[in-house]
Subunit: 245 residues, 2 copies
């Protein structure tokens, strides 16, 4: 059976999940596209598949079929995928490991998504998102992660609280600042074994209060004509270097 | 005097410049926002400022004033800036220097913009864009560059033609591939003095024909759970590493 009406209760609920407040309220979210669905199947987070009529259900999971018109409304894309899924949030509350990345107020969904990919690539144990960072379950964020968000311990928490936990674990806190900063290329092996790296917002950078809590500041050596790198780029280069021998 | 009609000849022309074909035809483009305008003023590429009525012209340049309604139509943003400018393209045709980056069919404007910032940051001499790469004068690309496009030699050219020129200059061509690739961290000083790095499209990677022309392949060591990094991230990490001692 195919749902054909936008007035259907399920459809009305799924449409609401396009807004953060309903995702927060219900601890559920939508994903779109074969690749994200495949990763979600592997990670057993799917409550229900949403498939366009006449498209094949390749998974051993319950599916609801919808018309093309409804899929267009549910989709976040100009050209909707034939498959979406309703997923259950599996958000962690615990800071684990000794390689931590903390993000303060990152706003661009593409930036957060690519930082998540880079965090896993360079062996971060826990990613901490400040309360005002763009929502992890925003469709653009999820797409940019290419499904990697399933493989990373991601915590949403007040950063002052997170830093207190990190201090108790005796993990040094690294900020980024050229003034009084250390060239990241000159860090020794020991500095790369255990660290919490704190990165700031796209426009404003790191806020002063958080900056003052850092044990050391590091910087990326670059041409003086360039004021700053994109925050996802800077974060990834630092993680790449900290991941090294 | 303030232009109030969307039927005005100037306005009709500027609106056309939102499309690539008219930018190509006329060698002119629009920029938006104080920061981009400031950089354009420094680089003497502005033909005319476009300012919202009642806003101050802080530059010693000719300006046309428009209503808020017209600015909204000209703008690429949800919240338009009070200042825009009509600029003249200053596109280079020559591959100079011995640190070259070649981009094959990059499609995301944000990716191209941040790669331009990173290229300047890590001392690239010439950036070569394939003919099918997203337009440099696309508003999102220009915004992501934060004005840095003014400070980099950027050439648009068939990549096979560009590679022929690079071969004649005896600059080695680096591709990216894990199979038969060299860990970028293990490159010696000499390999970093002179190189042309070739990067592929977001989804498909580098095309096979171009890949076959590379002298060596390099790769970024990372966690095996991650298939690939975002292309702007991967490019920036390689440029960062190649810029090192």
């Amino acid at each position: 059976m195919t749902i054909t009406s936008l007035e259907n209760t399920k459809i009305k609920y799924w449409l609401k999940l396009k807004q953060k407040k309903y995702r927060d309220l219900n601890n559920e979210y939508l994903i779109e596209g074969e690749h994200l669905v495949e990763e979600a199947v592997k990670n057993k987070i799917i409550k229900e598949l949403i498939i366009i009529e006449n498209y094949t259900n390749n998974y051993n999971l319950e599916a609801t079929y919808v018309t093309e018109e409804i899929m267009k409304k549910l989709s976040f894309l100009d050209t909707p995928s034939p498959i979406m899924a309703l997923c259950i949030k599996k958000q962690s509350k615990e800071i684990i490991g000794n390689k931590i990345l903390l993000l303060d107020n990152i706003q661009d969904p593409g930036n957060l998504g690519t930082i998540i990919r880079s965090s896993k690539a360079f062996n971060i144990d826990t990613l901490v998102l400040s309360l005002d960072t763009v929502d992890l379950y925003n469709s653009k964020v999820l797409r940019s992660t290419q499904g990697i968000y399933n493989y990373l311990n991601i915590v949403k928490m007040d950063l002052n609280e997170a830093i207190e936990i990190i201090r108790k674990k005796k993990i040094p806190l690294y900020g980024t600042n050229v003034i009084n900063g250390v060239n990241v290329k000159s860090l020794n092996k020991d500095s790369k074994k255990s660290y919490a790296l704190l990165m700031g917002n796209e426009g404003q950078g790191l806020n002063k209060q958080l900056q003052s809590l850092c044990d050391i500041n590091i910087y990326i050596p670059m041409n003086k004509d360039v004021e700053s790198l994109n925050v996802a780029i800077a974060t990834s280069i630092l993680l790449y270097e900290l991941n090294g021998e």
